[in-house]
Symmetry: C2
Subunit: 350 residues, 2 copies
């Protein structure tokens, strides 16, 4: 995920400056300063934690969508509480803002009740789910978040993309370390890898990534792009994707006709999600939670050898380093951001 | 899972008779008739649905544990509600009884609030998780259940079993069909496959199943048995296992020292679990749930070819067939049950 740091043309930009500039970009698209800050903060933190594919590199796409009306810069998410569940209508707003708001409200609810859940509909896509989870775990809570994607995955023998690769993520507080944050999609690899192989005119992709439109396994990037991605562990990956279809789709209140998310790849207004927050304090208490978690986590780390880490540790280390040294942006991305700045009348001076 | 039906020595026994006999066996161990019926019903339904490894074939082991005190036949699970969550202390009772009780209480709670959750601790192991989920989905609800197992899985390079393969299962009602029921463990295959290979003195197991005690991948069954099972999809399987450690372990109120489940394999009193029930009626209504579910499920089935089924359909077909034709029991199992019957003073006449 950190390959951009190895680009010889990459340049480190102080996080605070890049955050301010990103917020200015969102504000120039018509977003309120508060929402612009929220959106920029999520993107920046994603970049700080080394998830360069989902961080500030996405800003040009979001700006385009905010300008062409696919995403509404003025949208104010509407969150309702009904029968003990929260439901957030994103009203076609930027996913980073919608999910931050939904998460804040769900955390607040979980201060009074052990479990709180929130469905999210009509939202821009949420990108890196872990960023929202951190909001919860840095306040001592467990959180789980899953998101429905357009169909792009299928078992061998299928003649069309059958189901999304539907990411699922969770985080939990760790007593003497950064939160555990785990995020997976149920395809073997992201479809972006096939797209990249086609763009780079690579002769082949590894076996096991994809099937062609005929349903047969393929290593040909073009066939794979026309076909579907393979799930992890065969039917197990399909089952996990179905779990997310149910939680993030069937419960979300989205109109059935919109279940295929036909919007522009990587966003539009069709994203839906499901969020669960559990407050250890209101279960058996935080101390009991920490004592038990420490027992299994220490066992795991000891059994797994001297270099073992738990999910989230590497990202936390990257964040500390990039906060100190700045966020490395490759030349091509800086050029893209420069063009965005020109369009919006806010110079990009790095 | 149906391999026992191909045993030439197998004999079909009417489900109702086998259920009655199994209940008599539990009652002879000291369980109340009501609990004996509950335990027998779960075992029988597991066999009816073709999961022969976890059904009536387990009865001899349970009887042994009930007789030697590892499982308490008189245990009455204690379920408390606190801050909007339920907590079930199984008090060392038979897992099938404890989980049935916890499920019933959680379903009842979810009639008044959209989401209900229950932790389970100090329980015998739950065996086939789907049986409890069906209780919920046959009453129109979504349910998720996960269970912590003793450590038996590790990534290559590990020198000890690092974490359980922690099964996770869910089910949802399907408008015009049997409930969807999906159940997976996060190891590539169950450890039982390695045990069986050692018993059968097979020269090798497939690559990718296990590592030896040195942390290196192995195809030697004895090395694999001394080593650890491999997770599905590498770190993704480990992450899913950690999710279950947190939900079914850290939240369960189990004493930290008992996190390694050192009881006899397949049971004892150290099992813990986490259960979530969601009532579609109290989200956006059952009709909205069904309409959306039908949209993605039909898309999945159409894309996946003429023989595509969703998880749970095959089990439901097996159940209908076995209810009609009886449950096939191989000769060796009938002999085992005959011995159990002799020990308990209840004849086994099939």
């Amino acid at each position: 995920m950190n390959e951009q740091t190895t680009d010889s043309q990459s340049k480190r930009i102080p996080a605070e400056e890049l955050m301010q500039w990103s917020s200015d970009a969102f504000a120039a698209c018509g977003m309120s300063r508060q929402d612009a800050d929220t959106g920029a903060r999520v993107l920046l933190r994603t970049s700080l934690r080394g998830i360069d594919t989902h961080g500030v590199s996405r800003l040009p796409v979001y700006v385009e969508k905010l300008c062409n009306g696919e995403v509404d810069p003025h949208a104010q998410p509407l969150i309702e509480s009904r029968h003990g569940a929260l439901h957030c209508d994103g009203r076609n707003g930027l996913g980073q803002v919608v999910a931050s708001r939904a998460m804040a409200e769900t955390i607040a609810t979980a201060r009074a009740t052990a479990l709180a859940a929130c469905t999210i509909r009509n939202s821009g896509h949420l990108a890196a789910l872990g960023m929202f989870l951190l909001q919860a775990s840095e306040q001592g809570m467990f959180a789980l978040l899953c998101q429905k994607t357009p169909p792009l995955m299928a078992l061998p023998g299928s003649t069309a993309r059958a189901i999304g690769n539907n990411p699922i993520a969770f985080s939990m507080p760790v007593n003497d370390g950064p939160p555990m944050v785990f995020d997976m999609a149920s395809s073997v690899v992201a479809r972006g890898n096939v797209l990249q192989a086609v763009r780079d005119k690579l002769p082949s992709i590894p076996e096991g990534w994809a099937i062609g439109p005929d349903g047969m396994p393929t290593t040909d990037p073009t066939q794979a792009l026309a076909g579907a991605m393979l799930p992890v562990a065969g039917y197990k990956g399909i089952g996990l994707a179905m779990l997310v279809e149910c939680l993030a789709g069937s419960f979300s209140g989205t109109e059935p006709a919109r279940n295929l998310n036909t919007g522009t790849a990587g966003s539009a207004s069709d994203a839906s999600a499901f969020l669960l927050v559990i407050n250890p304090e209101l279960m058996f208490g935080r101390a009991a939670f920490d004592a038990y978690s420490s027992a299994w986590l220490q066992h795991y780390l000891q059994a797994s050898g001297p270099f073992a880490r738990y999910p989230g540790q590497r990202q936390a280390a990257c964040e500390a380093e990039r906060l100190r040294e700045g966020i490395p942006l490759p030349a091509a991305l800086r050029e893209e951001l420069r063009q965005v700045g020109e369009r919006l009348g806010i110079g990009f001076h790095w």
